[in-house]
Amino acid sequence: MIPGPATTFDAPEASVLNVKEPMLRCESLTQTYLSGGRELTVLKNITFALEAGGFIAIVGPSGSGKSTLLGLLAGLDRPRAGRVVLDGQDLGALSEDQRARLRAEKVGFVFQSFHLIPTLTARENIQVPLELRGEEATARTRADELLARVGLDGRGHHYPAQLSGGEQQRVALARAFSHRPAVLFADEPTGNLDAATGATVIGLMSELNRELGTTLVLVTHDPDLAARARRIIRLADGAIVHDSAAA
């Protein structure tokens, strides 16, 4: 158990539970890209809202726009039209750097290919989000706690290249939760792992989610994984073709 989960519910984001403002909301999101000089519409008119502590899976075939949607929800990119509101903040009103600060405050990420920084040790990778928030003093102890929590006690000084894929993803999980984000975005978190390792990682992720009350947004095309979510949105050709909440 991570010490202090009780305080999590006293944290400011917990108060959001009381008002009915959702943690994440998008309205009429549309995104286009240039490809070979021509404009390509990858997302069309996406609208949905997600309450705090919710767990949503976005599924669909390759090229359906899942990752683009994830990028927009996390403020990694600006939409062509529509808006995203994260914890009451309209991302469209924020500059690139303001969005980065918002991510440092409230957002965690888990990627398909882990994306640990190769030049940093496991522990240092976990410390990065805390240090970005200016919490250097507690970063190291917090990183050690999380390493223990994901079962990598004593591996903190290893570089990513010295860890297996499953271990790397567990470090990535620890990094994602280190600063107790309000929202966690996961992009095919088990895509590069074998079935057994993938199951361990998903188990850990949902445990941490439960302990910290984090809102979870999962992008996957694995139906079994999606089945663990409380809500499933299915995309095809950039549009929502099914929303389990609406059904």
Binding site: G36, S67, D97, A100, F109, T119, L120, P129
Partner: protein, 861 residues
Amino acid sequence: MPFVLAMAWRESRASLRRMALLVASIAVGVAALVAISSFTDSLQESVREQARALLGADLSLGSASPFSSRAEDELKKILGEARGTDVSRLVRFGAMAYVPRTTGARLVQVTAVEGGYPFYGRIETSPPGGWERLGEAGGVLVDPALVSALDARVGDTLALGEARLAIRGVVTSMPGDVAVQSAALGPRVFMSARDLDATGLLTFGSRARYEAYLKLPAAEDPLRLALRHRPALAAERVSLRTVSEDEESLNETLGRLGRYLGLVALIAVLLGGLGVASAVHVFIKRKIETVAVLRCLGATGGMVLAVYLVQAAALGLLGSALGVAIGLGVQAGLPMVMAGLLPVEVRFAPSWPAAAAGLGVGLWVAAAFALLPLLSVRDVSPLVVLRRPYEADGRKRRDPVRILAATLLAASVVVLAVLEAPSRGSGIGFALGIGGALLALWAAALALSLALRRFFPSRWPYLWRQGVANLYRPANQTVMVVLALGFGAFLLDTLFLVQHNLLRDLRVDAGADRPNLVLFDIQPDQRAGVEAELRKAGLPVREPVPIVPMRILSLKGQSAGVFLAAGTVPRRAPGERRTPRGGPNPWTLRREYRSTYRGALTSSEKTTAGGPWPPPGWPASGGPAPISIEKELAAELGVRVGDDIVWDVQGRSVSSRVAHLRDVSWARFEPNFFVVFPPGPLDLAPQSFVTLSRVDDPQLRASVQRRIVESFPNVTTIDLAQVQQALDRIVSRVALAIRFMALFSLATGAVVLVGAVATSRYQRLREAVLLKTLGATRSQILRIALAEYVALGLLASATALLLATGAAWGLVRYFFESRFSVPAAQLSATALAIVALTVLVGMWTSAEVARKPPLEVLRAE
């Protein structure tokens, strides 16, 4: 901020090996800079310590003729004002020394000493104590070079004119000794002034310098005395030197020399900057994913930029520190390289200001050159982590930060150049030259890409097409590589060309039919005898040329003494051409002219103004004698055709009018003259003769010299072959010093080349792996790379060559004011060597790709 520092530290731990190029680029440049500036500091410190010993006195007076009675009176006044002053008198002149025992003869520089010179500094002799005994008549001290040249030994008799003197010892060390100087002008012989008359050498027409050295009482201020008495002495053509003024002008000269070498070092530093830029460029390409993750996790663009800028600066600091250490090490070796060129003994003393400046310059250059490529980290989208390689949207923003960074970089180069250059003008010119070269290289690279795309050689074999196409395909590195490579090559070529042209000027034109033996100071009654002696040896005899010594009495109606006295305050700095109210340059009035008279121009002369020579109407037209003046002297004198000059010819005044100006090719070894009279007015004036001959066999040359010196001891013979040898020795010394500094540029150039080729390597690696997967063999991949690097190397080297030729032409023609020629063969070899080096480095990096199986390379990347 703590995040930035922590992150920078952790990142650089892993990248130190990759960034070795950056560290090396900075280190070499800073080493050159620190070595040269620390050495210059030590040199000036040494001059300060040894200045008094260099002059040997507090005050010295010197003239090209015996002091006039008015000059002697002025000297007496000084002695009257500063009671207790010691005086020592010296006469210096050139003469033939002859050792009867070995029959060796050689032109030497004689110094006849009277009194306690030197008052400061010590002259060491072997056997010891020789200098103190110099006052006793009958003996001489000589340079070791003379002993070996004449095969003589201590105790031998030396014939000097009519005198026979014993060689009492050799001078082993003397303050202000410049080894190459005595090599060029002949070995020195020191004798007592008491034996001077016995030599009979100071006859008519011989050149001698008369000096008086003064040791003042401690309370006396030499500068005050100098200021008070200089005008009167100058009017009598006596110059006056003081320790502090000597020190100042020597320091100025050495400082200027140091700054020229400093510019060469700056080239190495700027090349190092390019190395930094290309190293950072490659580095950032590998860091895109890390940057994207950091952005994703909430780092702002500025924070990420700061992380890498701090890294670059820290590595730059490391490189600078390394460079300072190397530079101080090199400095310890510089006195050896400069040996024989410096008048002072330089002690090795690390100059901490120079070291600190090197550290600062290195750090600054690293940061300024790293900033521009680093700015692209701000453009890395966090979306990269989602592995969606969308085409970057085509909008090219006019990024103000980028413009600011580029401006900062340009300003840094200008500031560094101005700080390092001998003058602000040359610093700005230097920076402009660099900017122009970069612009031209950039344009050339762009033109190549465009031209290749437009006129692609589609009929070439596949491998060549593939290689050449790499130069213009999307995301090619052509411009970057050509810039870095071409700039390095440009600097090296320019250095080479300038050096070649400057050194060429020091070569005497010694063609097969040119004379190589000169006989001076032939008295009128010796003419027939000398000619007979030459004929006896079977040598060609030329018509002897008369030489009449004279001085300028008045110029355009103004007395020379008035000009000279007025021109002394303030004292003329070396190289300065300032004269009061635009009047003549003082040296032109002070000097003794050795003029001739003849009725035709020689083959090394060309008329530039006035009619034919001599003027056809004269002497029928009457009036003052028409004279011909060398055109550059005319400019220094400030005279034109029609101006009057009155000459003092051995006490008689001779009026003349400038009627003709000539261009003289001084490099041709002929009896060349500043001033030529027509036959007639000087026929009866006191004169001596000079004649030239050619002797190919060195043995015969030596025996002719010996016979002349035996029969006519006052006649001086100069062996041109010896002069050329001495010159060659000086030239090779100077060239060694320049090449030594250029070596740093070459080293940095190599580092930059490796960096520049590495810039494109990352991309080529992926392509090569793909080709291999598709079935390309090792040799095919190597040949594709060969085609690409040959094309790149050729373009960079050829562009650099053209630019360098232009730049060197400008420098040689307008800055050094000399003739420009291109050593085509050597230059082509240099250019080809640069191409070969490019190909070598390129192939070396490609070989790794070709060797490894595709999967391994893919994983490693």
